[in-house]
Symmetry: C2
């Protein structure tokens, strides 16, 4: 018991060393591989590399947007909590509209989930933003619909909804046609708020 590692920097260093030694990062472009290291770190699974989907400019677009102060739009508060503020050099806004008081009524009116309805409050922030979806497939589906309806384009979509109904489908829809928005996603059922937040954290600074 008394011999566990207590030094945070050493824990990070060792973690990343294990990830780099075990994960098959060579199949990824270097800028995506760097993001993948943090995604793996967040979930403990090196085999997610196989399921990563991304557009060629995604990492670069995300880094540039965050450095320039892009807002970070999150589908749930767990993602917003997972974004490490001290990694955000431009004091970026981290926004989650899920608990805004009008959302439950909007969801009823629109016949959809609260997670999807909450995106109606994103319009004024969407242009050039980094979108991080870590929970709700319906939020990712709705985002794609909004883009089809002419909503302003974000700089990057980090699409990591999780689960058994719609998660794989919404991520497949994103990867099949991201409406010319750069994206990073994890195909299949896996995903989640920790992975979505880790993607933001990876792109916020080059520092590991």
């Amino acid at each position: 018991m008394s011999d566990y590692i207590r030094d945070a920097s050493e824990i990070y260093r060792n973690s990343f060393a294990i990830i780099r030694s075990e994960a098959n990062l060579n199949v990824l472009p270097p800028d995506v591989a760097k993001v993948a290291v943090r995604l793996i770190h967040a979930c403990g699974m090196t085999d997610i590399v196989t399921d990563l989907g991304y557009s060629s400019t995604a990492a670069q677009a995300g880094r540039a947007a965050l450095a320039a102060g892009a807002a970070i739009l999150c589908d749930c508060r767990m993602v917003a909590e997972g974004v490490t503020r001290k990694r955000l050099s431009a004091n970026n806004q981290v926004i989650c509209t899920l608990y805004e008081p009008e959302v439950p009524e909007m969801a009823k009116h629109l016949g959809t989930t609260r997670s999807a309805a909450a995106l109606e409050l994103w319009h004024s922030y969407l242009e050039g933003a980094v979108v991080a979806i870590g929970n709700a497939p319906t939020a990712l589906f709705r985002l794609l619909e909004m883009l089809d309806e002419g909503a302003p384009k974000p700089a990057l979509i980090l699409g990591f909804p999780v689960g058994f109904v719609g998660a794989a489908e919404s991520k497949a829809a994103l990867a099949a046609d991201s409406r010319n928005v750069p994206f990073i996603t994890l195909h299949g059922r896996r995903g989640g708020s920790a992975i979505a937040a880790a993607a933001v954290n990876a792109l916020a600074t080059e520092e590991e």
Copy 2:
């Protein structure tokens, strides 16, 4: 695109039906199986059943404690955010001390991580509490040390730290000797705040 399921209740129902049809829940006692369904729902992986560890009274102890108003002690704010407040019938306190102002200095003084140092502020809440660790192995290691040092016993330990350094080891230490505290854990590297919060949510009410 237009045919995705938008009804939250239907999404839940379908998700749980898929989980029950695919996961090998028969190897678990019924009360643990019910918790497992929500853990699987949170991470999208049915195969975590194999890695679950638990003591025989854990689910029962957790339900009783939460119903009686036990505090919920979380190692990070993502876990605290993931606890669904409306499932808590006794208006339980949800406590995370990680960002208390004295923690960084305490961590330096104690030569440990902030996540572990934050537990020093748990003493007055520990008795009969439900502890939910979803991030830091050092927090789980420190909790076991505190119990060895005579700290008050929580009602239940939900041990779900994630990652490559100490996660598997801290969970193995918990399962090998939980200091007579009921526990639920997920062996290996997998874990995380969504799973830890899902365990609390599963035990907070019988309602799915």
